[in-house]
Symmetry: C2
Subunit: 363 residues, 2 copies
């Protein structure tokens, strides 16, 4: 049955008693085609179960109607276990693509040195969406290359002044600040930060800077011994907390640069007999689904993935259509659960586009 030749626009033309050009025009909804002709063509299309051949149409029009989604993760991370945070992003991107009539090509691999350029250059996609929490230093070179080749792309990540191309991200600084302020309001003062805080991971760095600013605003010093590097996996968070404990410094709270890190740290804390939040407050960042289900439920910072996905797609399409588009920062929202104790006094920063903290009683 798969032998059965697929019908072409010529078959439709024949059946409808018109020329092939008219069929094509009618199907593109374009220029004046008479109502009656249109009807006959639609009828023939249905009768033969005809579908426009995308390869032919793409070849002719020189665009593909598909977008490519690429992940850039550290090679150490397991390919088959992308960060849960990106799952919801994936969902909203898929939905946004569908709404705009675009298909989505997806790739998690970084096998190819040239992964990023391959899709648009070989005419598989009109543009790229870049996601991931990989090392920005190696990432950066690829972004420059992309730009040099004139490839259309948007990326999710830190939104900073000197970056190549279009970036969309959440306000990591503000999120880090709000979370630290909440921890301080719970009476914590020795707050450890678990996560890389360098140029290599700009998002974490921004969270760290917001965190440090809140501390300083409260008249506290930022103790470098309370910062431990970690990438965004449970294992790394677990290990970093072990490192922190070995340093022998005192601390009464832990701010994981991501939920995965925080959850790994939580496990280490429990293993060492610490109670969360009684002995140590704990918080994360991302608000992945798991955050609400761990015990105690994790206080964290939510990013609006739904809006993020839509904006990523919309801005990429603007780029493709040569319309003006610019980088933008989405507000971060504090989600207060049980892991920091209290849970009664939500920290709401007044004014602006800032959204109020959520107190999640289900946690």
């Amino acid at each position: 049955m798969s032998q059965k030749r697929k019908p072409t626009s010529f078959d439709i033309a024949h059946l409808a008693g018109v020329s092939q050009s008219t069929v094509s025009r009618a199907l593109r909804g374009s220029s004046r085609v008479s109502k009656e002709t249109h009807r006959r063509i639609q009828e023939a299309v249905r009768a033969l179960n005809y579908k426009v051949d995308k390869n032919a149409s793409n070849l002719r029009t020189q665009h593909t109607g598909t977008l490519a989604l690429l992940f850039f993760e550290d090679p150490t991370a397991d390919d088959s276990n992308i960060n849960p945070f990106f799952h919801s992003m994936l969902g909203s991107i898929t939905r946004a693509c569908a709404q705009h009539g675009y298909d989505l090509l997806i790739s998690f691999q970084q096998l190819s040195q040239n992964w990023h350029a391959e899709y648009e250059d070989s005419k598989k996609a009109d543009g790229l969406i870049l996601l991931g929490y990989g090392d920005y230093v190696s990432y950066r070179a690829r972004l420059d290359q992309l730009l040099a080749l004139g490839t259309h792309f948007v990326r999710w990540g830190a939104v900073l002044p000197d970056q190549p191309g279009l970036s969309i991200g959440c306000d990591n600084y503000q999120g880090g600040h709000d979370l630290a302020a909440h921890l301080l309001a719970q009476g914590r003062s020795r707050i450890a930060f678990i996560g890389d805080a360098s140029q290599h991971y700009p998002e974490f760095f921004e969270r760290y800077r917001g965190f440090a600013a809140a501390l300083r605003a409260a008249g506290l010093e930022v103790d470098p011994l309370l910062q431990v590097d970690a990438i965004t996996t449970e294992a790394s968070g677990h290990q970093a907390l072990e490192t922190l404990l070995k340093r022998g410094v005192s601390f009464d709270a832990v701010f994981g640069a991501s939920d995965l890190i925080a959850i790994g740290a939580m496990r280490a804390l429990v293993e060492h007999g610490y109670r969360v939040p009684e002995d140590v407050s704990l918080a994360g960042f991302d608000d992945i689904p798991m955050a609400a289900n761990v015990h105690p439920a994790l206080t964290t910072v939510a990013q609006d993935t739904r809006r993020a996905g839509a904006l990523l797609v919309e801005n990429l399409l603007k780029l493709i259509r040569d319309e003006p588009a610019e980088s933008l920062k989405l507000p971060a929202r504090l989600v207060i659960r049980r892991s920091c104790g209290g849970g009664s006094s939500a920290q709401v920063r007044p004014g602006g586009e800032h959204q109020p903290a959520t107190i999640d009683v289900t946690g």
Copy 2:
């Protein structure tokens, strides 16, 4: 810069001083092309950053080198929140596609009445991979249509005798059986099953049948009052447990047909003051990442998503190449954590391809 015309094989031919046909042959790695010619062509390709235009090549060869992944979920489920179980599947499918040199088109939507046929018919993909936990009765009609059109597809789901096309799934019956046996071994005898147990959800139904068989083998009756319908979401699991409580029947264990259902049920149990596992044992199915992190950690049944993804892709490619391929069932593996109490006596069914239970001490 995006104005810059992309080089074609004619440009390469010109630069390398050969004909365009030779360029094409060399690039396809095909027939005899002299070493020297090949080298010159490669050089030109690099110099111009040339990439074969996929649309042209696909149009000519009549195949696309891409596979489409489609989700079929109940419309009630939130599009942007696909079942976490499928996330790891997505990872392994992506990886398998990459290994075979195929691209992956992805769609979660079910907007189009014809979603399933659209991809291969419009020459966007050579075949389809179908994933999802939607209502099988409405799904079934589409499978038949797919088959009638000669579309290549494989689906993840229950593997039963009378199904259209190729199916790959885990041994849900065995998984349900093993889990029930474990619950019985913990001294539980009034075990509720939360999940639809009908033709509408064949995977759940198989789990239920395995569960029921284990009960009967232990000389117990299967009480229909202990079965409550639910689809695979936390909300549905939560609600189903409320329904169960309202029935006023006694029970000492709950078997959620999926982890999401079990986690929703766990929340309801806790809200009503029941302790897990002291008062009620609880188990799920799927072993999603969250299962290890809820409190108490959830005993469940793991499916080998890594192998599943690889097999899905491999068998679809066999279909596409007209090679023999057949449906197959993967063994399910009991993962014992804390939510059923005990946690010491793993239930291992002797013989066969069956894999031993895992005792997860991290849980």
